[in-house]
């Protein structure tokens, strides 16, 4: 059974009576343990697709099944539970709480979960991104790369099925960016499903499968190994 299965997914925004189609007729499946990059130029709808997949937004038509269940029937509170337990987010702009320590930032999702031992879980997550020595730092006292690693620890802390990363290296220098990508790769090696949105080829190359979007539709969906072989043949 696929972890994520979308069929004929469409999304349009309606603003002041004007309908703007963003995604149309998208279908694909993602299995547990995959590392998928969604690529495309700006305006191609890749972020919107990620928001729908990560339960931050709803589709307009088509179906989206998560772990075999149609998400159409989920109410707002259940979507909140899924965002808490089943998915983790890494944003381009980090989105850490100001005036708050690294440890408290990582503990934030636990505030809304039933899990116990918040300190222990948060410290374990920070350890896995190599930030055990920054627990009591405030978020304005650490570098950009460290901020993104805190965000990854926060995404990990509830042990989700999928980690969604929206341009995670977009605000980082190349060195910090590659540290972040190596962490995501290592998580994938340990079995985590990673879905990455990016427009940078370097970043996308960490993934094992790339879905390319253009003007709201899929133009290609290929495994990285296949693509590489294809390019060699060419």
């Amino acid at each position: 059974m696929a972890l994520i299965k979308v069929k004929n997914l469409s999304k349009k925004y309606i603003n002041d009576g004007v309908s703007t189609p963003v995604l149309h007729d998208i279908s694909f499946e993602i299995n547990k343990g995959e590392f998928v990059a969604i690529m495309g130029p700006s305006g191609s709808g890749k972020s919107t697709l990620m928001h729908i997949l990560s339960f931050l937004d709803r589709l307009s038509s088509g179906t989206y099944e998560f772990e075999g269940k149609d998400t159409k029937d989920f109410d707002d509170d259940y979507l909140a539970v899924l965002r808490n337990e089943s998915v983790g987010f890494v944003f381009q702009s980090f989105n850490l709480l100001a005036r708050t320590t690294v440890l408290d930032n990582v503990k934030l999702p636990l505030v809304y979960s039933k899990k116990k031992d918040h300190d222990g879980l948060a410290k374990k997550a920070l350890d896995s991104v190599g930030l055990s020595n920054r627990l009591d730092y405030f978020t304005n006292q650490i570098s950009g790369g460290e901020k993104q690693r805190v965000a990854i620890a926060r995404a990990l802390v509830c042990n989700p099925e999928v980690i969604f990363a929206d341009e995670p290296t977009g605000n980082l220098d190349s060195k910090s960016g590659s540290v972040v990508m190596q962490i995501l790769q290592r998580l994938n090696d340990k079995g985590s499903t990673i879905i990455l949105v990016t427009h940078e080829t370097d970043t996308a190359n960490y993934a094992k499968r790339i879905i390319r979007l253009k003007d709201g539709g899929i133009i290609s969906d290929e495994k990285v190994s296949e693509r590489t072989i294809g390019e060699i043949v060419k």
């Binding site: 909140a80 709480l97 809304y112």
Partner: protein, 414 residues
């Protein structure tokens, strides 16, 4: 509510210290107002009740002039009414069955001279029955009897001011009306000094001298009328009957047919309590509504800062929703924040209220009133509940607004 969440609430309030304090100023004033009003009300009540128990509730007072049932007597407005005379008091003494003691009183302002010292004081011209109606102790000597004239009894502060600690008994002082221009006065021998009585009904009871009625009325004040007749009733259950008897006797004497045309007013202490209650209740209602307005203004301040806070923290709300916060979590977070803010205001207000009530108590005691310092637990509980409620009511709209934000829009908010 998670501990780290509560920590965040405090951190976010501390980060905007100045603004938070300004916001809760209205709450502080309102709550301090409530505490002070309740404390003053209780203090005044205990003071008045204390004085009434001292006077005794079995006292009836007749005053000249008709007046509204619940309103103050005409004298309060400076109107002189001359219809009540000594013979009225004598008639009441002989005809009212339950009158244990009756004393006629004529009052005025006088100058008292001894040696080269002169002071102004209040004159009470009355008869020997006065101590039987209004009870007080003598410090030295005694009150005058029926056959004495040319004698005087001093209030304690008059004795102190005039004799500076030396024994006044047997000395002769000169007393003249304050309006009399020429020197001199009626020489009177001091036969007693009243023990200190303190203030009562906002009048210093020690700044007085007592002289026999005939001397005071005719020789000093030059009047023929009385300012009041005080009657002590033999038992409190006979009060209303005695009031009727007094009215009947006086109407007969004054040839008045109809009670509404009466040129006098009969009051008992219970009526006086009622009048005072009406005044204090009205005052309390007025002040409470002032405090209420301060609380509403404070609430609008809370509404304002919470709206600003929600706008400022839109991205944070988006993030919280993205990591699993439900609508109810966001709603409760902002409600708790508003509640904490106003509770803080409430606590500061309570502290200020208690301090100010205490200072007022000190002032009243300094002025000689037997004023009790009363800050009831119920008034503190009320203040706390009201302040939290203000926060929750005025924080509700911003909190609802925050909880309804779409996570994606909130995350994208700049």
């Amino acid at each position: 509510m998670d501990y780290s969440n509560l920590k965040l609430v405090f951190r976010s309030l501390l980060a905007r210290k100045g603004r938070s304090i300004l916001t809760i100023l209205g709450i502080i004033i309102g709550v301090a107002g409530v505490i002070i009003i309740i404390a003053l009300g209780a203090g005044a009540k205990s003071l008045i009740l204390g004085q009434i128990t001292k006077l005794g509730s079995d006292l009836i007072s007749v005053q000249p002039g008709k007046s509204n049932e619940k309103g103050p007597p005409a004298q309060v407005f400076g109107i002189v009414i001359t219809t009540l005379i000594k013979e009225d008091a004598e008639a009441l003494r002989s005809e009212v069955v339950h009158a244990k003691a009756v004393s006629a009183v004529a009052t005025g302002s006088v100058s008292v001279t001894w040696g080269n010292r002169t002071i102004d004081t209040n004159l009470i011209s009355t008869d020997s029955a006065y101590p039987n109606v209004i009870s007080f102790d003598m410090e030295s000597g005694q009150f005058f009897g029926t056959q004495q004239d040319n004698v005087v009894v001093l209030g304690s502060s008059v004795a102190d001011l005039l004799f500076l600690g030396s024994d006044p008994l047997g000395k002769v002082i000169k007393v003249k009306s304050a309006s009399q221009k020429e020197a001199g006065g009626v020489p009177l021998r001091i036969i007693g000094v009243v023990a200190e009585r303190g203030a009562s009904f906002f009048q210093d009871q020690d700044d007085q001298i007592f002289v026999p009625l005939a001397i005071g009325q005719q020789q000093i004040l030059g009047i023929h009328y009385l300012n009041s007749i005080n009657i002590k009733v033999d038992a409190s259950e006979n009060i209303s009957r005695t009031v009727e008897d007094v009215e009947r006797v006086l109407m007969q004497r004054h040839r008045i047919q109809n009670k509404v045309d009466a040129d006098f007013t009969v009051r008992n202490i219970a009526d006086a309590i009622d009048i005072l209650s009406v005044i204090t209740d009205a005052l309390r209602l007025f002040l409470t509504s002032m405090a209420g307005i301060a609380l509403i203004v404070g609430g609008i301040g809370i509404l304002n800062i919470m709206m600003a806070t929600v706008a400022e923290r839109t991205r944070e709300i988006g993030l919280r929703k993205a990591v699993g916060a439900k609508k109810s979590n966001i709603l409760s977070q902002f409600l708790v924040e508003a509640g904490v803010l106003t509770l803080l205001g409430g606590i500061i207000g309570i502290i200020f209220g208690i301090i100010i009530s205490f200072l007022i108590t000190l002032l009243m005691r300094y002025l000689g009133y037997d004023w009790a310092f009363v800050v009831s637990l119920s008034s503190i509980a009320l203040a706390i509940v009201v302040s939290i409620l203000t926060g929750v009511i005025f924080g509700l709209y911003p909190a609802l607004k925050a909880s309804r934000l779409n996570p994606i829009d909130a995350l994208r908010y700049e």
